[in-house]
Every structure is written in C-alpha cells, then in structure tokens.
C-alpha cells in the first residue's frame, strides 16, 4: 500500500498551526524554501523519513502519529482547546503538547504494569434535582469525600489522591499566569490534568481539585482550560463556578471547620484563624475566607478587609511540596525537584523505574520518556539506582 502523503501533509499543517509555528520556521527546519514547504502540506512534495522525524520533533508529536493511520493521540481535543482559547501562547501550547505526551507515556506504563483503576463517577449524568451549579459542586465534594473514605480530614497530597484513581496529573510552568490548569479527556490516557506550577503549591492544590471537578462533571466536553482571572472565562462560566465550589468544599470541608474552630472576635484574631486553617488544609488564605463567607462566619465588609490585609500572605518557606519525598538525600532531592519543575512527577518516575526493573521497557526508553537532556536523565536514574543492564560479550 502506498504512503498517503496528502494525509501526512494535512496532519503536519494542523500540528504546525496548532503550535503557532510559522511556515518559514518549519521550512527552515527542513532546509527548504517556504514555497516547497507549502507543497509538503498539500501532499505534492514527498518527505524523507528524516524530514518527518525532524518535523515530529518540532511539533512535539510521536512520529507514529504522522506515519500511521491509527495512532491514538489527543490531537482533536488539543486542537479544539487551542481553537477555543486562541490567546494561549506558543510556549504554553508546546507545554500542553508535551503534557499530552507524558500522559500517553504514563498510560502506556500503567498498561505494561497491569495497573487497573475503577472508572470515575460521571456526575454530569446525575440528576441533582436542581440547576444551581455551585450547590452541585458542594454536593459532589461531599459525595467524593465519602466515596474516597476521606472523612473530614485535610488532604495531605491531592496529586497522589488523583493519581491513585488512574488520573494523569502533571504540573508544568505555563507562562500565562491566568491559566491555573486544564483538563483533557485523552482517548487512551483518559482523564488528564495539567496544573500550572508557576503558582505556589497551595494554589496548585486548589487548581488540581478544580480540574478534578471537570473530570467528574465535564469529561464529555473533552477539554477545559481554567483561568484564574474571571474576565477570561468566556466559555461556560457556570462550569468554572461549580469547579471552584467543588474545590473549596472538597479541600476545606465545612463540617471540619465547624467541628474544630470557633468564630473569634476582632480582625487580628480572624487573620490568625484564617492563616491557621489555610496551613492546615494547604490552601491559600483567600480560599479559607471564601469558605468562611459561604458559611456566613464573616460578612462582606470583614471579608474585604481581610482579603486586602498583607499579613494574610503565607510565605513560600511555610509551604512544602508533598510531591517531593522527604526521605531523599539532598543531592537526589535537588535533582528530583528539578525534574518535577520540568514537568515530571514522582509517581511517573516510580512507574518508569518499576517498568524497567520488570523488564517491560529498555533503559533508553526510560531516558526518552523523561524528556530531559540525556546526561541529566542518566544522573537522575543513577540517583534512583536504575542502571543500564549491560549484556555479557
């Protein structure tokens, strides 16, 4: 069967336009003129394998997507996301594309290791008996806490909690501060969540819970980008209200607050209480104030005063990242921290390690999946005591 260059050209064009890459840049990668590159995208000019690989690399795709007709990628979901959110910058589009590949890798590893998960409930199909979105979020948060047997305790590691349910959760730095996170329904990897790690860890916890709500309610929409700035919430703002309500109630349950705390008097005491609750539940103080307000513990005037009080801020050194295991040596911790900052997760590293030890993948495949410079990957694997198994001559 002859190779379909027309289909290849169509895929290349979509991938290039999705990442806002100019035609000239693509042409330059192949050392050809833009006129010739136009012919590539129309299927009139045939590429070599090398040239397809170079473009797959430029467009952050697996080369298999371009040369086979059945590679299961999230291309249509991602293209739809980019179409609905035209303001997403090129750097962030690239980060999202890489995130999608990490999700594919994670699903692949879990499949090799035989890890299986129960499907998430689909609250979008549930009859709530009312159409109040915020209330739906509140009710779902209670049900989820019950389903996951969390009681009313603080959640020490939301990322781990979601990962244990088979969700793919990654954190990457997105240059647009307004994007707090996004949800992607991947045809193979399933529910995928990206949290903007440019935010502080307390904010990231909230974003993860927020995106979790999208997975529970809105997976039928296939994708959703969440913005911190309400003004940019152009698409279905009611879904964002519901997700915010869910996140607040899920992370800071009203029942726990009522059980453990009493309403103080005086602004300073309120400040102290807000900070204490925020630290205990690992959320930003503003989230706590919104919870207090929703519970009618504080009025709007006090809420505004506390919101603008600089003493409310919890500094970075008072927060810790639950994803960085405390038992690691300082050197390893530094390298793992660096890997996490570059978008990997501890869970992903452990999956790679396990798959390699069980002889499911090769050493170099592990390095490839880490998306790190090869020497950095080797050093990281060395820290994790993963070495290449050399055969006997």
């Amino acid at each position: 069967m002859s190779f379909d260059y027309e289909l290849l050209g169509k895929k290349l064009r979509e991938a290039r336009e999705g990442l806002l890459i100019e035609l000239e840049e693509a042409a330059e990668t192949l050392e050809m003129s833009p006129y010739d590159y136009v012919e590539v995208e129309t299927g009139q000019r045939h590429l070599t394998g090398d040239q397809i690989v170079l473009l797959a690399n430029l467009y952050r795709h697996d080369f298999r997507y371009f040369v086979t007709g059945d590679y299961p990628s999230a291309e249509s979901q991602i293209q739809e996301m980019f179409r609905l959110n035209e303001n997403i910058s090129q750097a962030d589009r690239i980060a999202i594309q890489e995130f999608s590949r990490l999700c594919e890798y994670q699903a692949f590893l879990e499949e090799l290791l035989g890890n299986q998960y129960d499907p998430l409930p689909d609250y979008g199909q549930r009859d709530f008996g009312h159409k109040y979105y915020k209330r739906q979020g509140e009710e779902a948060a209670t049900w989820e806490r019950d389903r996951l047997i969390l009681g009313r305790q603080p959640i020490p590691n939301i990322f781990q909690l979601l990962t244990k349910q088979g969700m793919r959760v990654f954190r990457r730095k997105l240059e647009d501060r307004n994007i707090s996170g996004l949800y992607l329904r991947h045809p193979v990897a399933g529910h995928c969540i990206l949290v903007n790690s440019l935010d502080d860890i307390f904010r990231q916890n909230f974003s993860a819970a927020h995106e979790y709500c999208h997975a529970l309610f809105d997976s039928g929409r296939q994708q959703q980008v969440s913005y911190e700035n309400g003004a940019t919430k152009q698409h279905a703002p009611e879904l964002e209200w519901r997700a915010d309500s869910f996140a607040g109630n899920f992370l800071v349950p009203k029942a726990r607050l009522e059980l453990d705390f009493t309403r103080p008097s005086g602004e300073t005491k309120w400040l102290e209480l807000t900070r204490e609750v925020a630290r205990r539940f690992s959320v930003n103080p503003k989230v706590v104030l919104i919870r207090f307000s929703e519970m009618d513990w504080i009025n709007d005037e006090l809420k505004r005063a506390l919101f603008s009080d600089p003493r409310l801020i919890i500094h970075a050194h008072e927060k810790y990242d639950p994803e960085i295991p405390p038992q690691l040596s300082e050197g390893t911790k530094a390298r793992v921290t660096q890997a996490i900052q570059r978008g990997l997760t501890w869970h992903f590293l452990k999956l790679c390690d396990e798959a390699y030890r069980q002889e499911k993948i090769t050493y170099r495949k592990v390095l490839e999946m880490l998306l790190l410079p090869i020497e950095d990957g080797i050093a990281l694997l060395n820290d994790l005591s993963v070495f290449v198994e050399i055969g006997t001559p």
Partner: protein, 187 residues
C-alpha cells in the same frame, strides 16, 4: 575492507568519555547512525553534541537517511514503544542494510532481536569493541583497565572484569608455545 555498523547513542557517549573518537575507524568499521540518535545529542549537553558533530564533520560517523518505509517499519514493530525510537531506528536500519548494530542495553537487544527477527550475533556492545581493540593490539592492558575505570565513573559498569576477559581470550587464542599438547600425547 571496512565493515558497516549502526551506532546507538550509548557507544558515542562512551567514546566521548574515553576520548577515543577514532576507535571504531581504527578497527576498520564504517559507523553509521540515525537522525533519532542525533536528536538525542541535540537535546543533551553542549559538550556531548559538540563531540557528536565533530564525529560527523570529520567523517568518522555518517548519518544515514531514514526513509518513510523505515518509519513505517519502526511503527509496525509489535509494542515498539517499549524501546526508544533511537534504539529502534538503529535496529531497523541495520536490518535493512544487513549489517551489525552496536548498543549496550541487554533488554533492548533481547526485545528488538525478538521482534525484528534478528540474530543477536548481529549486535555488538561497547565491551565487544574494546575487546576487539585489545585483541588487535590497538589498546593495551593498561589502557583497557583505565577505560573500564573511566566508564565506571560515568555510571557504565561492566558486570565482569574487562581486562580479565581480554587476557583470558588472548591466552585461549594464542598458539601453544611449549607444544604441551604434543608432549603430553594429547594430539
């Protein structure tokens, strides 16, 4: 006569560590590599990329062009994603050209030989190259020991003593100097 061989990333990195860019050429090999290997160096540290590019520029290593059919072949290997794209490309090219491939991961060799129905004898490893260099007197015992130490410092440890293997091989292949077999009536 030179022998074609397809190099994976690993050996190139090892050649850099031991600072012997011409070792393969000295052994009369004509090393080839693929765009996937090149991209791994482009993503790596500048000094590694510089070493790789110098090999290419000096003609010590040649990048062979992958054809669309090679990519289709790679994608059609069952569970091809269990090996890296660079490993896979080297094996597919070696199979196409009917030559050997040099890579070091025992698991990759086992997996790819099985799925590409290649004889494992068509795969060489860093150790094979170093032993061959010793056998042909390109490397001395002292140099071999030093190389082993350098590689170990770079997280590349042989599961055997390279010098011991090299010496025992030389001993086994040497002609019987004292005619012991003849004297003892074993012939």
């Amino acid at each position: 006569m030179t022998r074609l061989v397809v190099l994976d990333t690993c050996l190139v990195i090892n050649l850099r560590h031991i600072q012997r860019p011409a070792l393969l050429n000295g052994l009369r090999y004509s090393p080839l590599t693929t765009v996937f290997v090149r991209m791994e160096f482009e993503r790596g540290r500048p000094e590694s990329l510089e070493f790789f590019l110098t090999l290419i520029e000096t003609g010590r290593l040649k990048q062979i062009r992958l054809e669309v059919e090679d990519l289709v072949d790679m994608a059609s290997v069952p569970q091809s994603r269990r090996a890296s794209d660079a490993e896979l490309s080297c094996f597919v090219v070696a199979r196409r050209l009917g030559c050997r491939v040099i890579t070091d991961d025992g698991r990759a060799i086992k997996f790819l030989c099985k799925h590409l129905t290649m004889d494992p004898k068509h795969v060489k490893q860093t150790a094979d190259i170093l032993l061959e260099a010793f056998e042909t007197y390109i490397l001395s015992e002292y140099e071999l020991r030093e190389i082993q130490e350098i590689l170990a410092r770079n997280q590349f440890r042989f599961p055997f003593d390279l010098v011991e293997v090299a010496l025992s091989r030389r001993l086994m292949s040497a002609p019987d100097p004292g005619g012991y077999a003849k004297k003892s009536g074993q012939v």
